[in-house]
Each structure stands twice: as C-alpha cells, then as structure tokens.
C-alpha cells in the first residue's frame, strides 16, 4: 500500500539489540512501576505500590518502633507462621496420612530423610512458640487498651486467630500416629461428644445428641482411625491454614484502617479523635495523589493524627525491625530444634492408653478442668471464657488512648490485686479436691447433673466473674473491671496449666514432683 511506512532493516536490528540491552530495566519497571528505590521518596513509593509491602503505611509513627510498644509480638507470630508454612510443606513431601504408613513416615523423616529431623524439630518448636507469642500478643493488646474503639473488630479477629492457632496445633498433634497422638485425640474427640453428659443426665440422648454428631463430624467414625486421620490431615494442611491466612490478612489490614498502632494522647501532636487532620501533602512532592480519596470521602481519615514530623519512613526503619524479629524467631526455632528433638512415642495402640495421657501443654489447663467434668471443663467454661473475652471491647467503651500499660497506676494496682486473688482461688480449688475429694466422695448418691455443674472449674469461673463485677462496682470503671477479668483469666490459665503439666502424674493423681511418680 502506498501509505505504508517503510522500515529500515538496519534500524529494526538496532532497536532489537537496544531493547535487549534495556531488558533488565524494562522488566523491572514493568513489575515495580518505579525505578530503584534510592531516595526516601522512591522507597515510600516502593512500599506503597507493592502488594506485599502495602499493608504497611509508607511512614510510621516513631513510637511504633519502640521495643516496649509491641515487643514485636504480632510480627513474631507471623514469623513463626511463615516458618511453620515452609517446614510444613517440606514435611508433606514425605509424610503419608495413613494409619499404616504415618508412623513409619515419621520414622523415615527422623532417621533417613536428609535434614528431616531438624525440619520436623523446627516445625514442632515453631508451633509451640507461635502459641506462646499469640498469647503474649493478646496480653500486650489487652493491657495497652488497644482493643478499644475503633479497634474492637480487630480484637475479635485476633480472638479468631487465637482459636485457629490452637486448632492447627491440635490437628497437627494426631498426625505422627504415635501413642501420644492417639490418646490425646481420643480424649479431644470425647470432649467434643461430652454434651452427652448433659443429655444423658436429662435422658434425651436418644432424640437429641449434639455430642455424638460433633464427634462423628470430627472423626468420621465411632473411634479414632483412618477417617479421623484423613480429616485431621485435611484440616491441618488445607482448611485451617487457608482460614488463618485470610483472617490474618484482614487483621493486618485493619491495623492500618483503624489508625495504626495506638498511642497515648501525650504523644499525639495534632487533631482530636474524630476530626480529620489537615491535608498535609506527604513528603516528596506536591503532585502526589495518595490523599485524593481521603479528600472526597466525608469520614475520619485512616491515617489519623500523623504529622510527618513524628514519623519515620517504613523503608528502612520498620522493615528492618520486622526483619530482626523474623531472624530472632528463626534463630530460636533452629537452636531449640538442634538441641531438643520433637517427641515420638511408640506406635498408636488402641488397647493401652498412655498413663498419664497428657495433651500438649497449652491444653493441660483445660485437661485439669476436664478432670472435674468433661462437659463443663472441656466445652462450657472455654466457650464462656472466649465469649467473655470477645465481648470486652464492646462492654468496656471508656474513651481512653491506647498505649499505656494497665492504663496507669490505678490499673496496675487492680491488676496486682486480681493476680493475687486469681492465683489464690485457683490454688484453693485445686487443693480442696486433692485433699478432701469432691461431691461424689461426700454424698455418694448425689444426682449426676449436680456433679456436672458444681465442680471446681465452674466455681473458679464464677469466682472470677464475681470478682471483676465487684471491682467494676467499687471503682465505677469498666476498664478496671476488664483488667480484673482479664488478669483473672490469664492467672487461672497459668495456674491450671502448671498443675496439669507438673503436678499430675499417673491416673491424674497429684504429685509434688515427677520424681515421686510410681515406677511400673
């Protein structure tokens, strides 16, 4: 055609070569949409435009980086999850979820697979440490009042993440198919069926059996077998990790949406809560459009009260801090994994229970309560505790800036008093049945339904609830009442866990030390 442009053959080749030379740059630009982050503005832009980094703001308040502000516990929990994800996928290469082969594949991983033993140990330690830091993170958030409006929903997400973390640990516990695993899961599954205690006592199990349904859903059978192993494997490697990733993503996102890390009023430099700050253009240029959306929407700005003067760039300061936490977590897993092997007992034997058969440590407090009543200790009390904790941000709405531990002197006093009260009460309720027995020893003919409801665990829970109501009334502050309740919960958990771990021996009898256990 006449109008067609004629290309110079030489020029085409030259362009090709030039493009080839520029390939690293153009490829990088097509991915990152900006040049190398050499300046502060460039690094901000990198954080802003990366899917993985944009959960961070481009700048954070200096206080966020202080050690005592968070102790890095949230990032530590995420770090352990990443470690667990990587080591878990590696373990899946050899692990076979079948009752015939599971135990043997564990032996293979331990003795034959290159670095299998270390990877398994790291997985085990990562799981323990993740549970610990999730609990500590929860304490940090509670005591700094960071659950308060507008962060109530993130507290709920955190509770859900706590439950999923425990569920992941529990489902992982069965997979080695050794004696420890088999009997822990038998006990767990029977706790799920423990509403039968109540329906039996009422005589309605025949028509209404939620306990049996729960157990069958969990095990897929009447007892722990291949179906249970298949289901636990599915939950452990697929369903629960997906749920955890989704919840965690929203959890992180909400930290930003709720205004970043909470901090005391004294350190805030501008703007009262609920008042949009002046639209200060971010450092780096008048033409940046990151604020345009905020200018259109008539609501509180997500980036509350930030003046550039109080902030530092996310890259490098925050990222560096996060990397340090991640390295420390990995180091902890590695050191523990090299020094201490994850346990593997004999292969599961459905005819001979372990004695004592103990759950992982974080469930031993529950197991202690289960030894009073399976239904109350295993289901009702944990459910009441979870619902109680979840409702705290909705029932304690005293406006208060986040970030001060215990909310000052009055709070510290209440926390100490509650700690003393909670420990004494928990010790008393353990000591009384150990020394004097319980209702059935005193009144042999007592109806079962009384034994279910009146037991040391439920009395302890009631005692804690009553104590925090008294504090609430005496101080007239819902925050102090919440501090009392939460402190009681934590102290009770620690005491019960210690009793279950160290003071209970064969037949769940009381022993002052492991060395007093009878030899058999």
């Amino acid at each position: 055609m006449a109008g067609m442009k004629r290309f110079d053959q030489k020029r085409g080749l030259a362009a090709f070569l030039a493009n080839l030379r520029r390939l690293p740059d153009t490829l990088s630009y097509s991915i990152f949409r900006h040049g190398r982050p050499r300046s502060e503005r460039g690094r901000s832009q990198a954080v802003f435009s990366s899917l993985f980094l944009h959960l961070h703001p481009t700048r954070v308040h200096v206080r966020t980086l202080g050690l005592t502000a968070t102790f890095g516990l949230g990032i530590a929990a995420l770090s352990f999850f990443i470690i667990l994800l990587v080591t878990g996928i590696l373990l899946m290469v050899y692990y076979t979820p079948s009752t015939e082969l599971a135990y043997n594949s564990m032996k293979d991983i331990h003795y034959v697979v290159p670095s299998g033993r270390l990877i398994r140990n790291v997985h085990r330690w990562g799981a323990h440490l993740m549970v610990i830091v999730v609990m500590l993170h929860m304490c940090r958030v509670f005591y700094t009042a960071s659950y308060k409006a507008p962060r109530e929903f993130n507290w709920l997400l955190g509770m859900a993440l706590f439950v999923v973390t425990l569920a992941l640990s529990f489902t992982g516990y069965l997979l080695p198919w050794d004696q420890l695993a088999y009997w822990a899961i038998t006990i767990g599954a029977n706790i799920a069926s423990s509403p039968r205690e109540l329906t039996d006592a009422l005589g309605i199990t025949q028509w209404f059996d939620p306990g049996g349904l729960q157990k069958e859903l969990l095990l897929g059978a009447g007892e722990v077998g291949q179906d249970a192993l298949t289901r636990f494997y599915l939950l452990h490697v697929m369903l629960l990790p997906i749920v955890l990733v989704m919840l965690a993503s929203v959890h992180f996102w909400r930290i930003r949406k709720d205004g970043g890390l909470g901090r005391p009023q004294a350190e805030q430099t501008s703007g009262a809560v609920g008042q949009a700050p002046d639209l200060v253009p971010p450092p780096g240029g008048e033409n940046d459009k990151t604020w345009s959306l905020m200018a259109v929407v008539r609501d509180r700005s997500a980036a509350t009260d930030n003046e550039p003067g109080d902030t530092v760039a996310t890259w490098p300061y925050l990222l560096r801090g996060e990397l340090v936490v991640f390295m420390l977590c990995t180091l902890a897993c590695l050191v523990l994994g090299v020094l201490y092997d994850a346990p593997l007992k004999e292969i599961a034997n459905p005819n001979v229970p372990e004695n004592p058969a103990k759950a992982p440590w974080y469930f031993l407090g529950l197991q202690e309560m289960v030894s009073y009543s399976a239904f109350m200790g295993g289901l009702v009390i944990p459910a009441v505790a979870m619902v109680g904790l979840a409702l705290i941000p909705y029932l304690d709405r005293e406006a208060e800036p986040a970030g001060v531990y215990m909310s000052g002197r009055a709070g510290r006093k209440i926390a100490l008093q509650s700690l003393a009260f909670a420990v004494l009460l928990a010790v008393a309720w353990v000591a009384i049945p150990v020394n004097f027995g319980w209702l059935r020893n005193w009144f042999p003919g007592i109806p079962q339904i009384v034994i279910i409801f009146v037991n040391p665990g439920s009395l302890l829970t009631l005692g804690y609830a009553a104590w925090s109501l008294v504090i609430l009334r005496n101080t007239g502050s819902t925050r102090l009442g919440a501090i009392a309740l939460f402190t009681c919960f934590v102290a009770g958990f620690v005491v019960m866990t210690y009793v279950g771990m160290e003071l209970r021996g064969p037949n769940w009898d009381f022993y002052w030390s492991r060395s007093h256990w009878p030899v058999h």
């Binding site: 009997w183 001979v352 037949n507």
Partner: protein, 155 residues
C-alpha cells in the same frame, strides 16, 4: 390494576431487586446445606461391634477375664455371664483393673467391681454389654448394645 394515584406497597423495581437477592441467598444456602451434609458419615467404617468370644466352658463360674483386643471384661457367675465395657465413660480411655474394681489412667475416675462410679469425673458407670449365644453355640458380645447393669445372661 392499581391506578397511578394509589401508591404501590413496594415499587416494582425494588421488588424485583429483592427477589433477585433472595434467590441468590437461597441458592447459596441450599448449596451450603448440601456441603454440610457431606462430612457427616451415613455409614461408620468400623469392624463389627458383635464378636464371638468362645464357648461358655472357657469362662468357668467365678472367673473374670479380659477378652483379648476387645476391651471387654467377661464376668462369669452362678447367675450367668455379663460383659462390662472397659472404655471409660469420661473420655474414652481404657480402664485398668484395680483391687476394688476399675481405675482410669487418664483422669482418675474409679469404678466398683460392678462398674458403678466411685470417684472422679466419669459421668456414669461402665457400660454393661449385651451377651447372647450365637447359632453355633458360642457366646457373643455386642459392644453396640448396652443392657442395664445387673443383667446376667444365662447360658
């Protein structure tokens, strides 16, 4: 036909919109119901709960023997035979025989010789299982069928 002056209780557009939303919601709920049904097994994959335990002369009067691999104690008395389940009614551990009856290693429940609860968290006594005679004359225990404590099977 409603006149233009009479206001309709709900605008046609709103009605259709709502109908669409509800149809979608019902479809999702229906599929959810189908998915929730799936993990609830209709048939439990288990070995038969009925099993033969031998002839009555293998269990002389006055003996108490644990049936191998079955977690059942067969008690033979002048009144007849009884099979007591050794699965703890608390959380499913296997009880040990003790001098006074049975003791559970997991959470310390203890039971008398007839299986009734003496102490501990067990909500009820050990289960007594149905004993019968199969057609070839051997004793049969059905661990799926419970009989009231104190029921003796006369051979």
């Amino acid at each position: 036909m409603a006149g233009r002056l009479e206001p309709e209780p709900i605008a046609r557009r709103d009605f259709l919109g709502l109908a669409g939303w509800w149809t979608a919601a019902l479809a999702v709920l229906g599929s959810l119901a189908g998915m929730v049904r799936l993990p609830n097994p209709r048939v439990l994959p288990e070995t038969s709960r009925r099993f033969r335990i031998g002839r009555s002369r293998d269990y002389p009067v006055g003996s108490m023997q644990v049936v191998p691999d079955k977690n059942v104690l067969l008690v033979s008395r002048r009144e007849g035979f009884a099979a007591i389940s050794m699965v703890c009614t608390h959380l499913g551990c296997i009880v040990d025989r003790s001098e006074t009856g049975f003791a559970c290693p997991c959470h310390g429940s203890s039971f008398a010789k007839d299986g009734s609860v003496v102490a501990g968290p067990a909500p009820r006594g050990l289960r007594w299982l149905e004993v019968s005679r199969s057609i070839d004359g051997r004793l049969t225990v059905d661990s799926g069928r419970e009989v009231p404590a104190g029921t003796w099977f006369r051979a």
